[in-house]
């Protein structure tokens, strides 16, 4: 079985306990306006183009079957003609154009993760993230299961928006859920992510019943959800769960914007005005821990 992935990152320490290797699956059912991994939203093939790396060799113009690459007073890349076939990436010496994602065998992914087994100790292991891993549900469960079979500890980073039938199977192969809770106000949730939070909360409660520990991950944006009402809801949600071991309050950052440039897309959302300061985050923690 294969999975479509964008990356495998070693030596991650913010995706679960200890040293971890994080696998990023491609594709996501949500379209959060603030997404800092925009390359993971689309499920299919895409191309990165980094103009600063282009050395003008012209290799892409020869190999492209669709004429998307031309040289006319510099290198022009017409994405409208691009089918993301990847022929240009194979011909590019400098890595200026490259594929965003690739198909990989589950067993090969596990082999990659096992490379750092000497560093995992008791706490570390693998984290499955993305995008939304559960947009490829069979592959996710297969990868988590294969990792557990290999003796690795597993964590799943999920937005929680997937068919409810998978919760039990997932829980059997996951040691830790890192579960997003983006907004308590459903109308606002729909407006900013494209979907309702109801199925997400339902899956969360079902996951809680399985006994697997949960970390709630709550993005906060000034002027959107950074207010007392939402913080109160976060607190209430945490208290209502039997196995929530921690709440992480994550301040918005506009870092995904450079990736939008590489994808040739604009994101009209990114703005400093949404940033929550470290001091404000500290107060928020104090508030929910009252």
């Amino acid at each position: 079985m294969t999975a479509r992935i964008t990356d495998i990152q070693r030596f991650c320490m913010h995706d679960g306990p200890g040293i971890r290797t994080t696998v990023f699956f491609s594709g996501c059912p949500l379209r959060c306006k603030w997404c800092h991994n925009p390359e993971t939203q689309k499920a299919g093939a895409q191309m990165y183009y980094n103009q600063s790396k282009c050395i003008g060799c012209g290799g892409c113009t020869v190999t492209c079957p669709n004429g998307a690459h031309v040289f006319s007073d510099g290198h022009l890349y017409d994405r409208a003609r691009c089918t993301a076939c990847g022929a240009c990436a194979a011909a590019c010496p400098s890595g200026a154009v490259s594929s965003v994602s690739r198909e990989m065998e589950i067993s090969d992914i596990v082999a990659e993760i096992k490379k750092d087994v000497a560093f995992y100790g008791d706490g570390g292991g693998m984290t499955l993230s993305g995008g939304e891993p559960m947009a490829q549900p069979e592959a996710s469960i297969a990868l988590l299961g294969a990792s557990k079979d290999a003796g690795l500890s597993t964590a799943l980073e999920t937005c929680g928006y997937f068919p409810a039938q998978y919760v039990k199977e997932l829980a059997a192969v996951t040691d830790l859920f890192l579960w997003d809770f983006k907004d308590s106000d459903d109308a606002r949730h729909r407006e900013n992510t494209g979907v309702s939070n109801a199925p997400i909360l339902e899956n969360l409660r079902a996951a809680d019943k399985t006994g697997v520990p949960i970390v709630l991950r709550c993005i906060l944006l000034k002027g959107i959800n950074f207010n007392e009402a939402h913080l109160r809801e976060i607190r209430a949600l945490r208290d209502s769960l039997a196995h929530c071991i921690r709440v992480d309050l994550l301040p918005y950052h506009p870092m995904g914007d450079s990736k939008n440039t590489l994808l040739g897309q604009e994101n009209g959302f990114h703005d400093k005005k949404y940033i929550v300061t470290p001091e404000e985050i500290q107060s928020a923690y104090a508030f929910i821990n009252q």
């Binding site: 990152q9 070693r10 030596f11 320490m13 913010h14 306990p17 200890g18 040293i19 050395i55 060799c57 290799g59 010496p93 400098s94 890595g95 490379k115 750092d116 000497a118 560093f119 995992y120 100790g121 706490g123 570390g124």
Partner: protein
């Protein structure tokens, strides 16, 4: 009064205000600048001095040093003694004739502090006299006479401090302590610390730079006893030990030096097992970490001997200190080092005592004479094997290329061996026995090295029990990457012929930017956990060890291999050319066994994995790896877990020596523009740390380059 940290939280406060002020002023050049006021003892008034032999001049110099050196007593100091002549900071015996320095001094050694504490220094005089009775050879007697004279000089200098402290209000304890030590044995922790410091200060006064060795092993029992008796509290002990570390900052003077102002190879080793196999870690171990954490004093770089038996609390404390940056803490993989030393031939009980030489090279302290010879593995490839790409060399296969490279490596190692052997020893024409040649005088350090007094032979003349000259291979990752790139481009992927590639490299890649970028982008080089290139690196290291082993044992000099550059990659730039893996002439390449800058893409775990594929136990002097992390990597509990995880992997995979520094390239760039704001910011350079703003631009740029992520 802030002590610089790379971490988001400030350093903890445990010591008194007075001690903190003492630390702050010392780190901000107060005593270093004072030391520069009097640079040397002047010898010009000695009649006939210019016509004497160097060895006689040296004896007079030591006498004049102890007579002329200013006495310094710092306000509120709990430990007394100071090396106050400025040229000692420059690795010279601080004595001049007509403004010309007399001779160089000795470093890269850790003297026998254990005997200083166990027996006191007074017995040395008796040992010299006893030895004089045994020897008849005039050279032996001449050395022993010099030794006796130097002991008298030590006594004289000690007497000056007694006079200065006697009846001085507030220094009664200092005076009483010095009445007992270092000539007698210490009766408590304070005396033990004072004894160590006073001997250390004396050796430094005369220009030589000893390392410290296993300070917790040396001091632990004294502290335990005082705590049990109730005669000392932990806080009081911390103050005393803090003063020891602060006194060690007496040479910090700011200013601008090539590789930075710090370190005089005062390395300290913590933890690990003693000769009986019992773990040493004690209260002193944790006090040292407390003090370094509070003040960020990098002048005594600390290396911790860790194993899978190490108390997790110690690993955690080490991680907490590492987080503050400054590169103060490094790590030895104890079991691997023990294996390296015993495989080399040291008895296990000896091997267990290992420390380093004040820099990072492993040695048995108190009884080892050490020098080393660095060389560039990339030069062996580019100049010796490939004739600087002039087209005269051609190879039809990778195996043929590697075989020739190995031959050139072997020839160069032989050349080093013969050159060093001939500079130290020669065979007697009549008896055929090995004789030691006189080098330059080193009587002072000889006093404190086991074997010298007994044999009547000085430090450089075969006195110590072990006499080591270690060739160090540098540029190893660059050589491995080069061989790998040639293998891929020419022989495997056949993108270019061998001769074409030689021409391209001879022209510094001119006109072949596409191939150059291809070489850079499409192969995974050393440091990315790619077996194909990592095993080439491992193979070179194994062959290098074989070359050294084949030569070892033929003469009294021991010839263990080591792996390091220690900043030399900067010096080597003019002698290196374009590389097959995409670098142009002028690039600054790999330091120690760290990846070539810009080629590592997978992070710290992959780097450690690449590093550990060689059998590092074959290099008894050591093999060094630098890991540089961002402050964000080591934040909070996750950061601690990450650091401890790296340590565990380093041990499990068979690493030798690893130093971890935490710094932000952005901060360093700012420090280049505004040095006045970053006076005490230290970075790990190699076996030592240095204050970043005292380095020249080239060194600063090199450190920044290493800090940047690919």
């Amino acid at each position: 009064m802030e002590f610089y940290t790379s971490y988001k939280d400030p350093r903890p406060v445990r010591c008194s205000e007075a001690t903190r002020l003492f630390a702050y002023e010392s780190l901000n050049h107060k005593y270093g600048l004072d030391t520069k006021k009097v640079e040397n003892a002047l010898l010009d008034h000695i009649e006939g001095i210019s016509d004497m032999e160097l060895f006689d001049q040296y004896d007079i110099a030591i006498e004049e040093i102890v007579k002329q050196a200013p006495i310094r007593i710092c306000e509120g100091e709990k430990i007394s003694g100071a090396a106050t002549l400025g040229h000692a900071i420059r690795h010279l015996v601080p004595a001049t004739i007509k403004t010309i320095s007399l001779c160089s001094s000795v470093s890269h050694l850790t003297i026998d502090f254990e005997s200083v504490l166990k027996n006191g220094v007074g017995v040395i005089r008796e040992q010299i006299l006893a030895s004089m009775k045994k020897h008849t050879d005039p050279d032996r007697l001449r050395f022993l006479k010099s030794a006796l004279h130097c002991m008298d000089c030590f006594t004289f200098w000690h007497g000056r401090y007694l006079d200065a402290l006697k009846d001085r209000p507030g220094y009664e304890v200092n005076y009483e302590n010095l009445k007992q030590v270092p000539f007698g044995t210490p009766r408590n922790f304070h005396e033990a610390v004072q004894s160590l410091w006073f001997v250390f200060a004396f050796v430094r006064l005369t220009g030589s730079w000893p390392g410290f060795g296993r300070i917790d092993y040396l001091l632990g029992d004294y502290l335990k006893k005082d705590l049990e008796n109730g005669t000392l509290t932990m806080d009081e002990a911390r103050e005393i030990l803090a003063h020891f570390f602060i006194k060690g900052c007496e040479w910090i003077a700011g200013g601008n030096y090539t590789s930075g102002d710090a370190q005089h190879y005062q390395n300290i080793v913590l933890a690990g097992i003693d000769e009986d196999g019992n773990e040493v870690t004690n209260e002193v171990t944790y006090l040292v970490l407390d003090i370094i954490e509070e003040f960020g004093i990098s002048d005594f770089p600390v290396t911790i001997r860790i194993s899978d038996r190490t108390d997790p609390h110690l690993l955690r404390r080490a991680a907490e200190v590492i987080r503050h940056g400054g590169g103060v803490i490094a790590l030895y993989n104890e079991d691997l080092v023990l294996r390296a030393l015993t495989d080399y031939g040291y008895p296990l009980r000896e091997a267990r005592k290992f420390a380093n030489d004040g820099c990072w090279e492993v040695q048995i302290p108190g009884k080892t004479q050490f020098t080393y010879v660095p060389f560039d593995a990339l030069w062996v490839l580019q100049t010796r094997t490939l004739a600087q790409y002039d087209g005269s060399e051609h190879f039809d296969s990778f195996d043929a290329l590697y075989a020739r490279y190995r031959d050139e490596l072997e020839k160069h190692v032989e050349w080093i061996y013969e050159d060093r052997r001939d500079s130290f020893v020669e065979r007697d024409a009549t008896t055929g026995e090995w004789k030691w040649k006189p080098v330059f005088p080193g009587t002072i350090v000889s006093l404190f090295e086991q074997g010298c007094i007994e044999k009547g032979q000085a430090y450089f003349e075969g006195g110590p029990v072990y006499n080591v000259c270690s060739p160090h291979i540098g540029g190893l990752p660059d050589a491995a990457n080069s061989l790998y790139a040639i293998k891929k481009l020419v022989f495997d992927d056949k993108l270019v012929s061998f001769d074409e590639l030689m021409t391209i490299l001879a022209n510094d890649w001119e006109g072949h930017e596409d191939l150059r970028r291809y070489a850079e982008e499409h192969y995974n080089y050393y440091g990315n956990d790619n077996d194909e290139v990592d095993l080439i690196a491992a193979r070179i290291l194994g062959d290098f060890a074989d070359c050294c082993k084949a030569l070892d044992g033929r003469c009294p000099i021991m010839f263990p291999s080591g792996v390091s550059t220690f900043g030399r990659q900067l010096d080597w730039v003019p002698f290196r050319f374009a590389t097959p893996f995409g670098k142009k002439k002028g690039a600054v390449l790999a330091g120690n066994l760290s990846p070539t800058p810009g080629t590592d893409k997978e992070g710290a775990t992959a780097i450690i994995k690449s590093y550990c594929k060689a059998d590092l136990s074959r290099h008894a002097t050591g093999a060094a790896l630098d890991i540089r992390l961002l402050p964000g990597d080591v934040k909070d509990e996750e950061g601690i877990a990450a650091l401890v995880g790296l340590m565990r992997g380093f041990i499990a995979l068979g690493g030798f020596f690893m130093q971890i520094d935490v710094a932000d390239a952005k901060v360093l760039l700012d420090a280049q523009e505004h040095p006045e704001n970053y006076q005490t910011l230290s970075v790990r350079v190699s076996g030592w740390n240095a204050r970043f703003v005292t380095m020249n631009r080239q060194w600063q740029d090199m450190i920044i380059q290493e800090m940047k992520r690919s």
